[in-house]
Symmetry: C2
Subunit: 346 residues, 2 copies
């Protein structure tokens, strides 16, 4: 906690000066940690997401080990799909499977409205429990998918190499696509607000697959909807991170959707991204998670490079450009936290 | 053929004015065509690549059907791997498998030098045969992978989601990585020169996976090698296309490697790319192949948008930003050729 009672992560989100750069990691709770793997042997991934005691346990696992400046609630971006009526399964190794994909206007019309408080209340409960455990030491981040990323899963029925079905729906049946995005936006805003009501002190919106789109398609079929989500969150009173993967060549466009902080991956230098975003937009990122497999001196070179590129302006949260990979050595992740925290002395 | 004997594709590669925009498609010969699927029932993919009569047949399949302005020899970017000693297999559905991946300095030292004329002569022979069949109607393009893309396959042993092993090798053992890249560059230059000697009238170098890299890693571990390839091809007397996937946020960097023409995907507007590359650099691209599944009017909207963004300067070759997808309707591909050719009348 900083002197005025606000944590450096929150201050950095607001672009305010901090004692040192805050750092957390996407997927900081996960398979690279033994404690997680042990729990995973006894419970399925979805069971862990849906059981507040387990989700809390997982959320807390990395905090003391790493010494990060923020926790992120353990959950999955696809959790809203089940109450919407598409179903949701995780097959070992193959990732998510959506048994009833949404491909026609009728499919879209049949989607059910969601009351997050009732139907996704387990996430809220996990947030309440985690807040109690963290006891104010660091802020807790809630999150959801951005509308495009969630819709792409709904249309494709799972992961996709080319997103051809999604792109075809948007280009070919824009009315159906827009209805789908509107329905999803409503669910996402309600879901994220519920998380804040439950105690989330910041939010992150993940547009994980937006990098498959052309700037033209993004602008026409995605941007207006993403904007609605960020506008819908304006009054929630917590900072919101707008994170996009692989979208560095249309960074000003995706940043235009909103969000207090813009998160991006390693495909652009942090200072170049800031030049595009303007001096007053806080940023989060952007180390390649693969680097965590390298030696400590090599990791340090990369961490210092990012911190140097961020120097001179407040409003930088150190993070990776993607989630921590499965076999990442825990002590390398911990070392990054220390490097970031010690950098102010350099 | 244009009035002065040079085809519009070649003229566009040189940035010279043309009667109308030339168009061809990456993977214009392939599974979306029945003639290809029929042949594929009788022969394996590698057999088709290695048998000049079959490779010629496949190369010719789309030409009259589509009316494209260039042919590209049917081959695979991984063909140089077998003579280098790593082996090469294609498993149905799963893509390429490299049985002996290259991960240590010793592996790299053990790689065999390649004489393209002798060991990859079947590609040259296919080029000679195809040239004979085309009889000067349109130019024939030869191709190879860029050094990074080829090395990433060698290190990963096949496709990869994150290229962690490749990135680790380059960051952790730069001397080994550089030796690998040097050996690969030598093979690629020899292989591409052989293709020109056999009759290729243009070359394309595919950096298909370069989009996984940060600009810093590209600059340090890839650019110097890619440069060597383009420099090594300076005197071959045919235009060279430098094609990169997903690298729009570091376009000036990848273009800096060389090549007469820069090819890129749909993740950047063509006019924005040209602003970055400068007015005199011919460009190739850049429609999303998914659009080919849409209706003809929708396709036309996208084709016209690209052609409008290219207007006012010579030096544009119409293409997709990636290969034609498997179930693409052939008549939609043909329609694009007609749209591009008719655009001059608009």
């Amino acid at each position: 906690m900083s002197e005025n009672g606000e944590h450096r992560f929150i201050k950095a989100c607001k672009g305010e000066p901090v004692d040192y750069t805050p750092v957390w990691f996407m997927r900081q709770a996960g398979r690279y940690m033994k404690a997680y793997r042990d729990l995973k042997e006894k419970h399925s991934f979805l069971e862990m997401c849906r059981t507040p005691e387990l989700a809390t346990k997982v959320t807390l696992q990395p905090l003391d080990v790493l010494g990060v400046d923020a926790a992120i609630i353990f959950a999955d971006i696809l959790l809203p799909l089940e109450p919407m009526g598409t179903g949701l399964e995780f097959s070992a190794g193959d990732g998510p499977v959506i048994p009833k994909p949404v491909r026609t206007l009728k499919d879209i019309e049949n989607l059910k409205p969601v009351c997050a408080e009732e139907q996704l209340g387990f996430v809220g409960e996990a947030i309440r429990m985690t807040r109690g455990e963290i006891a104010g030491k660091i802020p807790l981040i809630g999150f959801a998918a951005a509308p495009f990323t969630l819709c792409s899963y709904m249309v494709e029925g799972g992961k996709s190499k080319d997103f051809a079905t999604t792109k075809l729906l948007m280009a070919q049946e824009p009315a159906a696509w827009n209805l789908l995005m509107e329905k999803v936006c409503r669910v996402l805003i309600d879901y994220l607000k519920m998380q804040v009501n439950a105690g989330a002190q910041a939010l992150q919106v993940f547009d994980s697959w937006v990098g498959c789109l052309s700037p033209g398609d993004y602008e026409e079929y995605v941007l207006p909807h993403s904007k609605k989500v960020f506008e819908g969150l304006k009054d929630v009173g917590v900072p919101v991170v707008n994170f996009n993967t692989g979208a560095s060549s249309m960074l000003s466009l995706v940043a235009g959707a909103g969000g207090d902080v813009v998160g991006f991956d390693w495909r652009i230098h942090l200072d170049e991204a800031r030049n595009i975003l303007g001096p007053d937009r806080p940023v989060q990122g952007n180390m390649d998670p693969c680097i965590l497999f390298a030696s400590i001196p090599e990791i340090k070179k990369r961490v210092v490079d990012i911190l140097r590129r961020a120097e001179g302006r407040p409003g930088h949260i150190f993070n990776l450009g993607h989630g921590i990979l499965q076999h990442t050595p825990v002590d390398h992740v911990k070392a990054v936290v220390d490097m970031v925290h010690e950098y102010r002395h350099v």
